[in-house]
């Protein structure tokens, strides 16, 4: 062994334990609980690929984009993998409960971080609202299939509240329990959907009419694929709770879009050969499609499970974002409260699920039949977050001097494409008379500076804490190799030798 290293190890043996320990700001969460499998479960459930496959099959069957549709989905998957590559520039180097929000703050500062935070909240809450509402409707369909007729808006709302309540209970019960439960649920529904597509004969055209979009078909299909893959990066919210997070989270973020993209391409190809019609008909038309009772029941059970898993995945991810913002005091500090024994962010879970249930009830009452603009806003929010994280990755890796030609290339490509897609969506939406996308973009763009101005006035100290992540602790350092201190500005630093006289 070489001289300096041996000397450092010898010093470690003789060193006294540090009297004052500096801890990670996120140590209240249950640490090192999630395995690689748990993280994949979290990602897959948030995406709910089974539901995405059915909707892709629907659009491929009804709108008939042909082989161009398959290519669009494959290319969109490749782009999402590039976004994942940009995100792993962060996940290989830090574990943060705020995910993209915390990552963007490392590269682009507080304004962009708050824009990303707003976009992520809008995106995840939007998906959670949509999937909970669909879940409630599917549960009622199932009840009707077994002869339990529950008419009226009251039954929808009650189903949404009950499903939301179960989601909150599981999310508080524990992150590992929740991720394993949702992996099991999602795998079952996925097997069911894939098996149905494989064994189904080429059927007749379905009578389902999806709600019309303001966008042209292929850009719409691309955005829908992005929406269907939303949450592929949700493992990044669980870095502080994962084992070997820098490895496992990065692997999950990269592998998930590849797996889901393959499933989506499979669904699109199956639909081209007419094999998607049985499942689309069974889900959307029920027994009227001519499918047998057992097929309709199986498809609806699979879809209900998938909607439920997605709601749970979003609640888990969204609650970590709220928790992170609570720790930073960007939102009320109560959101940073953690359950005493289960070590889950119970207040943040309650807040997110409450908003989710309320939103789902409003969605069921007012948007059920016309959700295109709602979906467009969610898509725009997510694409904004992904675009910003690509730019942030470029800046961050350059700042720490670890950028390579291919990381720069991926970041620039994703940033240009994301920016272009947002601009195109805004223009295309305006041309088709839909102002939801341009308005959403303006609101998102204004949210960061506005939020920052409010914080500067009300809680200026919180601006210095934005971007909190699982920082190194005194116990992680080789004794004698440096001292971790918190300086007068509240910044953590590692200094050589013993600590100077500063606040610890």
């Amino acid at each position: 062994m070489t001289a300096a290293l041996r000397a450092a190890i010898d010093r470690a043996q003789a060193a006294e334990p540090a009297a004052d320990q500096v801890f990670s700001p996120l140590r209240a969460l249950g640490r090192r609980q999630l395995s690689q499998l748990d993280l994949i479960g979290q990602s897959l459930s948030t995406i709910a690929p089974a539901t995405g496959m059915v909707f892709i099959a629907l659009w491929m069957t009804v709108s008939g984009p042909g082989f161009g549709g398959v290519v669009t989905i494959a290319v969109t998957t490749a782009v999402v993998v590039l976004v994942a590559l940009c995100i792993t520039g962060f996940t290989r180097r830090l574990a943060a409960a705020g995910s993209l929000y915390s990552f963007v703050s490392q590269g682009l500062g507080t304004r962009a971080a708050l824009v990303t935070g707003t976009a992520l909240l809008a995106g995840y809450l939007g998906i959670a609202i949509s999937v909970l509402a669909h879940g409630a409707l599917t549960v009622l369909d199932l009840a009707e299939l077994v002869g339990l007729h529950l008419p009226g808006a009251g039954a929808w709302l009650m189903a949404a509240v009950v499903l939301g309540g179960i989601v909150a209970l599981i999310a508080v019960r524990g992150v590992r329990f929740a991720t394993r439960a949702i992996l099991l649920v999602e795998t079952c529904s996925l097997v069911l959907i894939v098996a149905t597509m494989l064994v189904a004969p080429s059927g007749s055209a379905t009578g389902v009419e999806p709600s019309a979009s303001s966008l042209s078909l292929l850009p719409f299909l691309a955005l829908m694929t992005v929406l269907s893959m939303a949450g592929f990066e949700s493992a990044a919210f669980f870095g502080p709770e994962a084992r070997r997070p820098l490895v496992t989270v990065s692997r999950t973020v990269l592998v998930t879009p590849l797996v889901v993209g393959a499933l989506f391409v499979f669904a699109a190809v199956a639909s081209l050969s007419g094999r998607g019609e049985l499942i689309v008909g069974a889900y959307f038309d029920g027994l009227d499609s001519g499918a047998s009772w057992s097929i309709v029941l199986a498809v609806k059970v699979g879809m209900a499970c998938s909607w439920f898993a997605s709601t749970l995945g979003c609640a888990q991810a969204g609650s970590r974002l709220l928790y992170s913002m609570g720790v930073e005091r960007v939102l009320p500090a109560a959101l940073a409260r953690v359950h005493g024994t289960l070590r889950t962010p119970c207040v943040a879970v309650a807040a997110f699920v409450s908003a989710n249930i309320l939103g789902a009830c409003l969605y069921l009452l007012f948007l059920q039949d016309e959700s295109t603009e709602f979906d467009a806003v969610v898509e725009v929010a997510l694409v904004t977050a992904y675009t910003l994280v690509a730019v942030a990755s470029l800046r961050f890796l350059h700042r720490i001097g670890e950028d390579m030609w291919w990381t720069r290339g991926a970041s620039v490509f994703v940033a240009l494409l994301g920016g272009g897609l947002l601009a195109f969506s805004a223009v295309d939406g305006s041309i088709h008379g839909s102002l939801a996308v341009p308005v959403a973009l303006v609101v998102l763009g204004a949210a960061g500076p506005l939020w920052r101005a409010v914080l500067r006035r009300l809680r200026p100290q919180s601006l210095a804490t934005i971007g909190v992540f699982d920082t190194v602790e005194t116990a992680d350092l080789l004794p004698g190799a440096g001292t971790l201190i918190v300086d007068e500005q509240g910044r953590r630093r590692i200094v050589a030798g013993d600590a100077p006289e500063e606040r610890m």
Binding site: T2, A4, L5, I9, P479, G482, R492, R493
Partner: protein
Amino acid sequence: MTAHVPIRSSEATFGGRQPHAVQKALGMLEAVAQLGPGTTAKEIAAFAGVPPATAYRMLNLLVADGYLVRVPDLSGFALGRRTAELAHAAAESNPSESLHDVMEDLRGCTRFGLHVASFAGGRLRFVDQDPDHEIVAITTLSKTLHANAIGKLMLAHVPGVCPQPELRRLTEFTICDRDSLSRELRDVVTLGYAHEHQETRPGRSALAVPVRDSSSFVVGGLYLHGSAAKVQPDPELVRFLVEGSSRLTGLL
């Protein structure tokens, strides 16, 4: 946290027969040791003579495994606690399971805090602390050996270690009477474990069992702590600790 394993002095050196990746990794650790905390990835790559792309990938792996840490602004590196294990690796041609690995495994089986202390040199020193359950006021444990399980274990097993002249009362449960303490220490030897019931902090209890070296001498203790309602010397918990400590034999 202090070093997790005993640092064995050895003249063994890493030479040309080691796999190339290990040499590169050691070169990068040497760079951080030489250049000090805060050394950037570029500087490490240049010092170790490793291409930047390889260096960045290996640095991320070394950080993920705890051999290096990133400084809080993420732009540089410092030596991590697991670097100490390399001394052990250098001395062993076929290294066995490390103390830290065993402890991580044991921690996965309990919800209580689990720590290992060394009694080397007649001094109580924690060598592997549970990162999820810190010991509040850890420095006071070595100053009030009579009031905590690991201290009582040390008093009972290590010749020449005596209680402090004044048995300080920390809570209403602290044993401050020398005769009672002597009886308690005899029980520690007879029963094979030490129990602390709210003697250091109200509401907290702990158990400790001895950790032995390969010659069966007590060289440290395995310390478990948690809420007073849950940490009791019930047979199952004691068996878990005894079995755990037997896995640590010879590793301290």
